[in-house]
Symmetry: C2
Subunit: 640 residues, 2 copies
Amino acid sequence: MKKPKIAPLLLKDVVIGGTFWSRYSELIRTKMIPYQWDVLNDRIEDAPRSGCIRNFEIAAGKAQGEFYGMVFQDSDLYKWLECVAYSLATHPDAKLEAIADAAIALVGAAQDDNGYVNTYYTVKAPEGRWKNLQHGHELYCAGHLFEAATAYYDATGKRTLLDIAIRFADHIDQVFGLTDGRIDGYCGHQEVELALHKLYAVTGERRYLLLAAYFINQRGQEPNYFELEQERPGYVEIFPGLTAADKTYNQSHKPPVEQDAATGHAVRAVYMYSAMADLAAELDDPALLAACDRLYDNVVNKQMYVTGAIGSSSWGERFTVDYDLPNNLYGETCASVGLMMFCRRMNALHGGGQYADVMELALYNTVLAGMSLAGTEFYYVNPLEVDPKTGPFHPSYRHAKPERQKWFACACCPANLGRTITGLGLYAYAGSDEGLYVNLYIEGSAKQGERRLDVTTMYPFEDSAVIKASGGAYKLYLRNPQDAPIVSLAINGQNVPVAAENGYYVLERDWHDDEIAVKFDISVKAVHSAPEVQGNAGKVAIKRGPIVYCMEEVDNSPLLNSYVLGMGSNAPDSAQLAEIPKGLLPETYALKLPVYKEEYAEGALYRTEKPSVKAYMLTMIPYFQWANRGANEMRVWVRR
Amino acid sequence: MKKPKIAPLLLKDVVIGGTFWSRYSELIRTKMIPYQWDVLNDRIEDAPRSGCIRNFEIAAGKAQGEFYGMVFQDSDLYKWLECVAYSLATHPDAKLEAIADAAIALVGAAQDDNGYVNTYYTVKAPEGRWKNLQHGHELYCAGHLFEAATAYYDATGKRTLLDIAIRFADHIDQVFGLTDGRIDGYCGHQEVELALHKLYAVTGERRYLLLAAYFINQRGQEPNYFELEQERPGYVEIFPGLTAADKTYNQSHKPPVEQDAATGHAVRAVYMYSAMADLAAELDDPALLAACDRLYDNVVNKQMYVTGAIGSSSWGERFTVDYDLPNNLYGETCASVGLMMFCRRMNALHGGGQYADVMELALYNTVLAGMSLAGTEFYYVNPLEVDPKTGPFHPSYRHAKPERQKWFACACCPANLGRTITGLGLYAYAGSDEGLYVNLYIEGSAKQGERRLDVTTMYPFEDSAVIKASGGAYKLYLRNPQDAPIVSLAINGQNVPVAAENGYYVLERDWHDDEIAVKFDISVKAVHSAPEVQGNAGKVAIKRGPIVYCMEEVDNSPLLNSYVLGMGSNAPDSAQLAEIPKGLLPETYALKLPVYKEEYAEGALYRTEKPSVKAYMLTMIPYFQWANRGANEMRVWVRR
């Protein structure tokens, strides 16, 4: 395996602490992981049935019954195992590990002799294996198995799940390809590609890398595999009515290396882009790298919400066209998790801080919004405005729920959230031969061999961080957040005059318990959309550092569009923004903004009378904390 | 039959003239009627297949084949015949009458001996008659047959279609009711009720009136008929998956007399309200009258668009909840036609001018928008904003087409438009023993016995009308339009100081070629929504008289939300509105408004830089003329 220039640190070498993230990581460990395990075992009464573990028991011959759930139900267990693995890496827990080991044994028992494992096809449709790649999700589930297996091996050193993965990967490698009568197809839902890269990284087996490259390169070749497949004998519909007509949906409209703009199902897209970035780095492929750059640019600069959400339409949970960013978006939690994955890889490829800026934006807004403060309710979609009174009546608004839910029939998001937060150490830092990269400022510590950083900060809620560095001579790359630029840097009390380059302040010295004090500018800003986003015309989003704020009815009143910042088009946007009171919700950094409120007299539905205005202090809370106090109206964009 | 206090004049006694309406009525006569006839005969190559005439031929045994189209396909012919009847009433045309007579003979040939006629059930599902009242539309089609029959009899004096209708009505009267083992149900789509009232008015047969009352009274009684029906043997689904669970959809959630708020499918609703108003008048039923008043108030003051459109959601083409008026509405053309029908009846019930105000609003905006200037393309839905680039990607926007279409698989709207415009004389005037009501100011003439009015006007596009009245002593009721109040009245050059009452100026004298000069205030107004309509916050609609204006990309630029009236919240809304140039489109009264345009520098998707502003003259055109120059962005509501 080629040594990457920049790579995440080992998870066990990163400690995530501080009151903010400790609370989340404890929520995941003590609430979400046990809760999700209960869900997978169908033990939560008022949550939709999962059937996931039961499916494995049936496939393993340990129970009788019929398959239940989505064709990709297995992946819920794999994502849970990956989440558990990351948790065990930093917080050993013998009881949890025993539960995971038993689950892993169950996966092994459900595996065929030839390595194939997928309970849907073993229990429900044994004749259908590999016959409906477009919708069957077999390779998608395999990918999540590989991700779980490599994480579990990294965390515990145990090989059982890794060996299951290797057997399945070897089987896939024999089944797929362009030679010897193999299947020349690829999966309708990308995931196996980036997972094969992980398997390659852990095992060093180059066949897995080449198999990932095959899947990427073969995608979108003409004639289109999915169009051929659906005409073949043995093809059975899984999602009735869905055909291969819309090739952009699963990004098979042309080879990935030729793609210019994000299109189709957002999760599929960013999982594929992540794999493309892996391969571009590993194979030194300039064409693939250029495609990654183009696609990243399109996503971030043309199709991303101010919250780091992506996928604007509920129709196919998809990217649509540039600047089509209505506030009743889809914005699947998984898509922003995938965007973080893509950003991490782009950051490693280019060593550029701006990729971590977007990663941070998605994390602190859409991804964190995906779970309740209690840790046991979840959002699948993350709209920027909700009106509980009218939403249910409109197809493009109905998916936007005013309250988080206990579980989903399609339960991809909760587990994706869990693995992202327990794996946060993989995003927070990176290392190279030359030094250490601080990508997310989070309280805790990080090690790379002798090199060690200890970070004390409440960033991005407070404006300072203190980093103690030790371990000898190396470069320390401190990201200069676009959303919260560094305004001063001092080492051991001495101001350091340095310029940021490529999004980082680079400090190089022989580090021996030196203390770096960093100050950020987290002043409140009013953010405008490019004018092409017509729904945001005349409105601004309020940000403090990377934290996007929203209005909720419960803090103000209904009819949130009655509030107007009223700063005029030529006054500084932030001039009238006020002090920050704390404590509205646990750990909430709420904002109070002087605005005016338009009030109309009681009257006709349509009238020529203008509204009167009165001064009002508008309360805004961080977007990720919305909908924790019952169903109520919420809006991110405020009239200016 | 009880003599109504106020009733429409006979259609043949009303002449509609003037350049504006002559052009429309000629379009209907020379383009739309022949075009729709060709469509019904499947002779228009690039329009969706209709099958309507063919279905009748098959049912009549004159052709072989299978039924084609919707379960209510027959109604397309009946609405066409009604439209033809109204046209013949004012513009005799032997060739057209011969075509209509042949079509009527075909209907007669398709009628069973017992009077039943419906080609779907005769050709496709003979076992299913009256077994799925919720979705079968048998009584709905019967209603359109009765409307056509009465209109054709009134226009031509020919009884053939009327006799067909009478035979069917007698059959229905024997099949339905609460006694003798009859079917105690009612139709899932109201229409037969108001049609039976028309049949009663023409024939004097009181059984038809009582049958209409039965259908209204039985609706919504518990246990719910549709819930029982769908469990019975012989029930066959027509629209798979649709059950009786959502009783508000077809207004069977409670008896009509108890209903307070408009709910469910908008066309069903207003057709029912029209029948309720007929019965309230005919039966002097105060409870039914009170229900009509409540429902009218709810529709007009809580759930109606500024264009007179109703039905805000594409989900079930329905009313939703008060103030839920997003600009990507459904606003079916038929629903506004039905609203005009309801308004006409409420006007007759109460003699109040405000009902005709709403009738006028719906007519000049949504109804006229339903057809192209060429007369051969149609809108089914009438949104208040369209962006052709993004709309197709979103389920709640996809129904809003940027261009009118040649025909529809569900082709209710074009024929409904046709019968409304050819029957416009029924809306323009009304008469009572005491006098004549001018409800729509339209060039032409009207007679009631000896009484005669001759009107010269280009209202509502110009601000004056001259009415020559003759025929002796009677009261002349001149509507005082809420949208264009009368500012002066002169008889034979002498100003008349009168006060409006109940929405009318009442002039009483012995009329002998007296000339009344009327001046209206049609100054341009900026109209605000009640604040509960959150999507219109910070915006106004521009109206001139009853004419609502819109911006189109083709006259200005894309990104129409970049234009801001900028009159400030305390300046008079109309202060900066400018002169009206003509001629942008044929007969278009365009507006030029001084606004400012916000311009952003090229830049990031999100930025703290504010836009610059520059002065701009915004062109607006009447809403009903939008989308006649290719697909382009359109918006009604303008930022203020």
